[in-house]
Symmetry: C2
Subunit: 261 residues, 2 copies
DNA sequence: CGGCCCGTTGATTCGTCTCAAAGAGTGTGG
DNA sequence: CCACACTCTTTGAGACGAATCAACGGGCCG
């Protein structure tokens, strides 16, 4: 797995944004044609000139520490983000009940599309580890997309895929019991790691049991118990955050809801 | 509530499509500028000429009987649809478990966006009553959108809003107990009816208890029981499919998860 | 009129949450 | 570098909610 680092130009603007909360974020210039990570930056069928024009419009990166918010709920929507490295969760904060984790985003995935409809972000995005995103001002994206039909079509595809993914997450919540939910969750994570070139069966969980539980509609204790049960049954090997899926086939069966007993 | 009917042009093609399943669908010519129902057909800031061009690209309607499928899962994606009248459900068929209802779509709402990403429909759309849709060939939509930036922006907004709506549905499933789920569902339906000019508190449920249960991740018996409980508590008045919300405030409290006991 | 699907209600079982306590891991400051 | 604090995780016992199994009633259509 080679994570390309582009050469020069690491101008750091370490100034806190003066917004009350002191966020010391870091922005660096990005070069999309040297970065093959993020699907949004690579609509199929673009020539070199068109790739150059992407650079012209999506120039900045931002670095976040663990626990920092990329954007808050209700915040004005200005940009969409491509995760260049690291790991995020999206959260629906809730004063009444516990916060609802609505998704996890890893390298190569997109954040912020929730804001397009209303002009305000409908959730909060929090970094679960040191992370870096490419910031793409949405006005620029739209303008650029009207010149590059491929980019436009590509954006629509990404949003559609998101809708399809949400539908299957919906099905998991509505249909499956706790064991199947967790199994499906682990397999989904593994699949996403594998598209990055990592092993689908060995990875580190960047989120807590509580966050997994929130996402799956389970209590953190239930999540912990099921990890233990999977371990006993020889399906996985869990050392707190370090996970190895030792029997993917059996896990798939459970995820499909075929567990008889 | 005035549902505009445009004058002439009701050419019926009642031919079965010859696909094994005998679907006798009906297509009529549509005139978007005379139809103010569907948001996708009315991007803000279009002049009369541009509205005319919409007519040029989205000319056909299709009529469906109760139980008919607008599209099947796995079917090649060709068009998106705007519901002109009637009521639909989207379903994820499942051989192992019961089918999963992933949403209900009523007049003025969009169907088919799930197919944009992969080129194939990711779910099945079934009419729950006699319904009519406007069929918009997606190739045409894209071509048209590249000429009409407003339409393009509008489509993105619709998809984003869908994502936001899905997120809150997700939260309902993950967080709330059965009573709250059903309360939230009824309020959501009412809200959508009210945007059509109908009362938010009196409407007819077009779906079965089983379908509500599938959508909310509950058994049909539980749905039925909660209706009865709501009735006892004076929150609603249910006569099988005919629903009246008699105490919307209390129902909102329950939907918010504040029910103490 | 009979059949069938849909809806209601009851009794019981099972799964998951809640409450509780203790152990492991991580980071910080002395 | 170790001790301490804090957060995260594990495991247990009990309570509660929803699913399941089952039977019956009602409405709609042929």
């Amino acid at each position: 797995m080679t994570t390309k680092q582009e050469p020069q130009s690491c101008k750091k603007n370490s100034e806190s944004a003066g917004k009350g909360v002191s966020i010391d974020f870091t922005e660096v210039k990005a070069h999309c044609q040297h970065c093959d990570l993020n699907p949004v930056c690579h609509p199929p069928g673009l020539n070199t000139d068109e790739m150059d024009s992407l650079d012209q419009w999506f120039p900045t990166r931002r670095r976040l520490k663990r626990g920092e918010s990329l954007y808050e709920i209700g915040e004005a929507f200005n940009a969409i983000y491509a995760v260049r490295s690291g790991f995020f969760k999206t959260v629906l904060p809730s004063p009444q009940q516990r916060d609802q984790v609505t998704g996890f985003q890893m390298t190569g995935e997109i954040l912020g599309m929730d804001g397009i409809g209303s002009g305000f972000h409908a959730c909060q995005a929090v970094a679960l580890e040191v992370s870096e995103v490419c910031l793409m001002p949405y006005g620029n994206v739209e303008e650029l997309a009207s010149n590059l039909p491929n980019l436009h079509a590509h954006l629509n595809k990404l949003m559609s895929q998101r809708i399809v993914h949400d539908q299957s997450a919906f099905k998991i919540l509505a249909n499956l019991r706790s064991e199947s939910r967790l199994a499906a969750f682990l397999l989904d994570l593994g699949k996403r790691f594998s598209t990055l070139g990592y092993s689908p069966n060995t990875f580190v969980l960047r989120m807590t049991r509580e966050e997994i539980g929130s996402y799956l509609g389970l209590s953190l204790e239930t999540v912990s118990r099921i990890f233990s049960r999977f371990q006993e049954d020889g399906l996985v090997d869990v050392q707190t955050r370090h996970l190895q899926i030792t029997n993917p086939e059996a896990l798939s069966e459970i995820a499909a809801g075929k567990n008889s007993h």
